[in-house]
Symmetry: C2
Subunit: 239 residues, 2 copies
DNA sequence: CGTAGGCTTGATTGAACTCAACAAGTGTGG
DNA sequence: CCACACTTGTTGAGTTCAATCAAGCCTACG
């Protein structure tokens, strides 16, 4: 059930059987949500953190004029709000971008882990730090990259992150969100996203259609996006 | 010496004398850097984390075309790369935006803290999570706010963060960086930043001149920026 | 006192936005 | 079963915000 999460952690460091058991022990229940559902609201007080088992979950923030910015896209195996364990309320909301299944990890039990399992605590800390690294890369996209580069970069990032948990093939993966939601990730309007997707298609780089990302020229796409996966910290390094 | 840092932590939670001593014990030396110096390079392996004692430090990422994006501005009392403790190398560089003094905290000693001081570990974890929250707010600025709102929001954010550590007055604070560096924070060109600053001045909201931010109408500025300091997590909450 | 870096302004260009219309697909209820 | 609403995607025309290009102005300093 939390295999995806463990697989990701084990790319970086060893997780003992005892640690695995402790992590499993934090899970108190499993819930499914339809696409479009807000899973955790802005400012809500938290007693649980949300581990994505299946589907895509987004973090977003609203603006007064009704616009919103998605600040992070979570894939299966990600904790969507492990930071909520220390923050206790979120500065953003969590949204089911697709139908999804999530497990809820009790903060009480996470607290016990921090009291007794120093190594596992560092691993969890590490995991939130990678999230922050992804936020930084998105800042670079939003601040400095052109619309087409932003889209290309996101497709590359998700390919790597989904690959780690066995949810991507060599040249394609499922990513069933609308162009409007893609626009909210990229800081663009839906209309412009549509044009950008057409250009990516016409340049023979990648096709995004019917919730499927299909690469035609992955090296070319990475070159366009200046994609370097180093910020995802997937190399082994004991904590 | 690390009083600013402690003051900030104590807004959120109690820090015992023993914890304070442990934190002080991590510091192995103090270094000063001239403005413009890169303190930690991209990808560099780390054995120390950087605590800002005085001056401003930026996190930035370079692009191939020579542009760069500053993803975070650190004020005195901030750890600029506490996340480096778990990441072990940085996905960004650290830059002295002004002349600055930093203390270096040994990762070996931070490791000891994580082995023996669960509460203090949670506090440090919390501290990196607030950094991530600031990254998210910047994503919203870069993705969705107009140029003038972005500038206004940054001035508001720094006012609060500097206030916490006693580096801001009610209506003004020192922030001696160039318009070009401001542009790198805001995802704009230096020329446009210049025009935006003029407009903020002419609209009677804020003046930025000679390294000084002087508010003329702080409520108006906050309204323009839609500034809500909740994402800084400055309210008390025991960990 | 000459030069470089930072600031300022004007003119022009361009990337992305806005507004508007329409097509295709989906679901629903009469 | 069809009419209708609704969502999502597509395209065109016109606009706007910020970028680019270019020039001139300080003032700090070697």
């Amino acid at each position: 059930m939390i295999e995806c999460h463990l697989r990701k952690l084990r790319l970086r460091d060893e997780i003992s059987a005892a640690e695995e058991a402790a992590l499993r022990g934090t899970i108190v229940d499993t819930v499914t949500h339809p696409a479009g559902r807000t899973i955790v609201h802005f400012g809500e007080a938290l007693n649980y953190s949300t581990l994505v088992l299946d589907g895509f979950v987004g973090r977003y923030k609203d603006l007064k004029n009704g616009q919103r910015q998605i600040t992070h896209v979570h894939v299966p195996g990600d904790f969507a709000d492990l930071h909520g364990f220390t923050l206790k309320r979120l500065d953003h909301a969590l949204l089911a971008l697709t139908p999804c299944t999530i497990a809820r990890a009790s903060h009480t039990r996470l607290h016990e882990i921090t009291e007794t399992q120093a190594h596992l605590t560092r691993v969890m800390w590490f995991s939130t730090n990678v999230d922050a690294a992804i936020h930084r890369e998105w800042e670079v996209s939003l601040g400095r990259r052109s619309a087409i580069q932003r889209a290309a970069h996101l497709f590359c990032e998700l390919h790597v992150r989904l690959g780690v948990v066995g949810h991507a093939e060599a040249e394609r993966y499922r990513f069933p969100i609308s162009q409007a939601e893609l626009a909210e990730c990229l800081g663009l309007t839906p209309v412009h996203v549509n044009r950008v997707l057409r250009e990516l298609r016409e340049r023979g780089l990648v096709e995004f259609r019917n919730g499927l990302v299909a690469f035609q020229d992955l090296p070319g796409l990475k070159r366009l996006a200046e994609f370097d996966p180093g910020y995802l910290y997937l190399d082994p390094h004991p904590l």
